[in-house]
C-alpha cells in the first residue's frame, strides 16, 4: 500500500518537473519572435490591407505607390528583426545573436 502511494508521489513530482520544463520552452527564442510579431501585428495588418488595395486596382496603380509600399515592407521587416534580436539579447543573456 505504502509502496504504491510513494510511487504515485514520485509520479506527481515527475509531472511537476515535466510541466516546468515545458514552461521553460516557452521562454526560448521562437517565443520572443512570436511576441514581437504580436506587438507589431497592427502594422503588418495595415501593410497587408494596403497590398490588397494595390492589387485590386492593379491597372491604374502608379509605380510610385508600389515602390512606397515595398519600402514600408522592408522597413517593417527590419524593425521586426531588430526588435526581436534586441529582446533575445536581453532575455536570453546573449552577447552575439544566433544566426537563425
Amino acid at each position: 500500500m505504502a509502496f504504491f502511494l510513494i510511487l504515485f508521489t514520485c509520479c506527481l513530482l515527475i509531472l511537476a518537473l515535466h510541466l516546468h520544463l515545458k514552461l521553460r520552452q516557452l521562454a526560448s527564442e521562437p517565443q520572443i519572435f512570436a511576441e514581437v510579431a504580436v506587438e507589431l501585428q497592427q502594422r503588418a495588418h495595415d501593410l497587408l490591407v494596403r497590398k490588397d488595395q494595390l492589387d485590386a486596382r492593379q491597372n491604374s496603380v502608379s509605380k510610385d505607390e508600389d515602390e512606397h509600399w515595398r519600402n514600408d515592407v522592408a522597413q517593417y521587416m527590419e524593425d521586426y528583426e531588430q526588435e526581436a534580436l534586441a529582446r533575445a539579447r536581453v532575455h536570453l543573456g546573449r552577447k552575439t545573436p544566433s544566426v537563425s
Binding site: M1, A2, L5, I6, F8, T9, C10, L12, L13, L15, A16, L17, L19, H20, K22, L23, R24, L26, A27, Q31, I32, A34, E35, V38, E83, A86, R87, R89, V90, H91
Partner: protein, 179 residues
C-alpha cells in the same frame, strides 16, 4: 507511528498561530502585489498570471487546510497521504495552470513565472520527502525541517516575486533604450 503523527498534528495545531500569521501576511502581500501588477501592466501577461497563481494557491491552501487537517488525523497511511498528496496536487495544479495560461495566450514565459513554478516544485519536493520518510523510515527527522521549510518558502516567495518583477521592468527599459 500513528501516535507520532498525532503528536505532529498537535504541535502543528499549537503553533498554528504563527502559521496563520505568516499565511495572512503572505496573502495580503501577494494580493497587494497582484493589484499593483494589474494597475501597472494593464494587461494579461506573464507577470500578472504568476501573481494571480500565487494568490490562488495561498487562497486554496487557506480554504483546504482545515479540511485536510481533519482527514489527516485518521490512523492509516492513506489518511497521511491525503494530507501530503493533497498539497502536492494543489502545487502541481498551480504549475500546470501557469503553463496552460502561457500556452493558451501564446505569452512568452518570463523569469518570474519560471521562479514561481520552481517555488511550487520546491514545495512539492518538501512534501514528498516528508511523506516518504513518514511512510517508510518513520524517523521523524524531517518533521521539524518540514514545518520550517514550508514557512520559509511561503515567506520567501513574496520578496522573490517582487524582485523578479523589478528585473523584468529593468529589462524592458533596457530594450526600450536600444539594448
Amino acid at each position: 507511528m500513528d501516535e507520532k503523527f498525532q503528536q505532529l498534528m498537535l504541535t502543528l495545531a499549537a503553533e498554528s498561530q504563527i502559521f496563520l500569521y505568516i499565511a495572512n501576511y503572505a496573502i495580503v502581500g501577494n494580493l497587494l502585489l497582484l493589484v499593483l501588477a494589474l494597475v501597472y501592466e494593464k494587461k494579461l501577461n506573464s507577470i500578472t498570471i504568476s501573481f494571480f497563481v500565487i494568490c490562488l494557491s495561498l487562497t486554496m491552501s487557506r480554504l483546504l487546510s482545515p479540511l485536510l487537517y481533519e482527514i489527516a488525523s485518521g490512523p492509516t497511511v492513506l489518511h497521511k497521504f491525503a494530507w501530503y498528496g493533497g498539497w502536492i496536487l494543489i502545487n502541481v495544479f498551480c504549475i500546470w495552470f501557469i503553463y496552460y495560461m502561457h500556452w493558451l495566450q501564446k505569452i512568452r514565459a518570463t523569469q518570474l513565472s519560471m521562479v514561481t513554478s520552481l517555488i511550487f516544485i520546491a514545495m512539492c519536493l518538501v512534501q514528498a520527502i516528508d511523506f516518504i520518510d513518514r511512510a517508510t523510515l518513520q524517523s521523524n527527522f524531517f518533521a521539524d525541517a518540514y514545518q520550517i521549510l514550508i514557512a520559509v518558502i511561503n515567506l520567501c516567495s513574496l520578496p522573490l516575486s517582487a524582485y523578479f518583477w523589478l528585473v523584468e521592468i529593468r529589462k524592458r527599459q533596457l530594450i526600450a533604450a536600444g539594448a
